[in-house]
Subunit: 216 residues, 2 copies
DNA sequence: AGTAATTTGATAAAATTTTATCTATAAAAA
DNA sequence: TTTTTATAGATAAAATTTTATCAAATTACT
């Protein structure tokens, strides 16, 4: 059996990793050295065994009766996610959502560094939003080829999404974090990750209605 | 076998329903009457069979060679999600993110109506953000008991999250849409849905690194 | 009318994800 | 020191989710 036999695409586990990271950093900040799976499980409202399965991704060994070394875990998760060194990104569409993402300090803790933003609105171009310069989106191609950024955060209106995407792809962007409601068409070698606010609301709605006492 | 044997908690399917709804409404707006699973599949970048499985939740019968009646599907999905009549909600924390959610017209298409917002900042209290009045959060309990709202959208700083949650729960809120990074503690009969921006970024990061040609 | 093509829906299989069980290990307690 | 206890890690089982297969239904075509 190869060293790399561990499945890397446990999507639900990957989605939970940032939440572990957040907790672990908090603990680390408090001076804690070790943490146990039951502790993390209680915080995350999941089962301890699932925590242990998730943490297998980080390839860190815990010690019985003690738990995991927090520093090692943090390092292991960061390495797994590729968040060791910062990921440079562009943000396109400095509207309500875009500006709020630019102002979200927490994202920086997750490996992401937004180095430039773009907008078509001349009133926004030239400004600096939360320390990030806003350029005219006509300059996207030029700056992308100059700065070698591989991730773009898409916050334009849905109607503009595909068109902007085409420019991004043509300029060599390899990953698009898509906050619009468009289902973007991209070549095979480009990854898109769509954030759909409504899907969370759907889950909440369904759970709420199922939670109500039946009215027979 | 009972009529209600259909599983209601197919979480991944539920999460996809809003995306179907969006597409279906778009088609309906263009005057289309019917839609097939292969068409929806192509748009959503999933398999047609999965579309059919998902749409089973709506309990609408399609007709072979024709597809599904779009109007029926829309109605079926809305009914399943409880989005037929609007869900009234409060939003707490009118900061960058909160304001951007208040300004997001699309959420209204998803059954959610934010009837009031709350903040501690006296400079925000009294204002109207995108048509929604902002009250002092000291008045949360009072207004909750008056307006009988069962959903709250939580956009306060993480450090305030649990404390605000306790007030919400004490005032009878049954569902909390949590945008903070806190893992909220709530009684059993209260549903929380946590939106974690970073988990999407984690998936994107992992897929990106796995997509790179191996450098051996 | 008859045939071919497309799509739904039922059933089954495969894959993935979560949970359970048990053993080994390290620390704490007796 | 010995016993007890808590926890990791291995293995297996269960549950969930996705994918495959195929028959039935409906439309379009010849
Ligand atoms: N506001 C939210 O809470 C929220 C939540 C989830 C998703 N979204 C989605 O995010 C997107 C943006 O939403 P918003 O509320 O920020 O809208 P917005 O109108 O406030 O912002 C859109 C921005 O994009 C800019 N823009 C338009 N065309 C552009 C182009 N071709 N290139 C570069 N910039 C361009 C506009 O000038 C504007 O600044 C929408 O697709 C929306 O559906 C918004
Ligand atoms: N900005 C983003 O893109 C983003 C994305 C995801 C999650 N979040 C999370 O959303 C939350 C808010 O983020 P933000 O960027 O809008 O921060 P922000 O500081 O801009 O807004 C916070 C708002 O909450 C108000 N507030 C503070 N204490 C309160 C209380 N007890 N009751 C009512 N209101 C109170 C503040 O006055 C402020 O208006 C944070 O937890 C953040 O981590 C933000």
């Amino acid at each position: 059996m190869s060293q790399c036999a561990l499945k890397i695409d446990k999507l639900p586990s990957v989605r939970r990793l940032p939440a572990y990271l957040h907790l672990l950093r908090e603990l680390s900040g408090k001076g804690e050295q070790f943490v146990s799976s039951p502790y993390l499980a209680e915080k995350m409202h999941i089962e301890a065994i699932l925590v242990r399965k998730d943490l297998e991704l980080a390839r860190i060994n815990g010690t019985p009766r003690v738990g995991y070394c927090i520093a090692d875990l943090i390092k292991g998760i960061e390495d797994f996610l590729g968040w060791g060194e910062t990921l440079d990104a562009f943000l396109v569409g400095v509207g309500q959502l875009g500006a709020s993402i630019l102002g979200n300090r927490e994202l920086m803790n997750f490996g992401l560094k937004i180095v430039a933003a773009f907008d078509v609105n001349p009133r926004k171009v030239g400004a600096t939003v939360h320390g990030v310069p806003v350029f005219d989106s006509a300059r996207l191609e030029e700056l992308l080829s100059r700065l070698q950024v591989s991730i773009a955060i898409l916050c334009v209106p849905a109607a503009e999404a595909q068109q902007v995407t085409d420019v991004l792809v043509a300029s060599g962007v390899k990953g698009i974090w898509n906050f619009t409601s468009e289902n973007l068409a991209v070549p095979e070698d480009v990854i898109t990750q769509k954030e759909d606010l409504a899907s969370g609301l759907a889950v909440l709605s369904v759970k709420l209605t199922r939670n109500k006492p039946p009215t027979h």
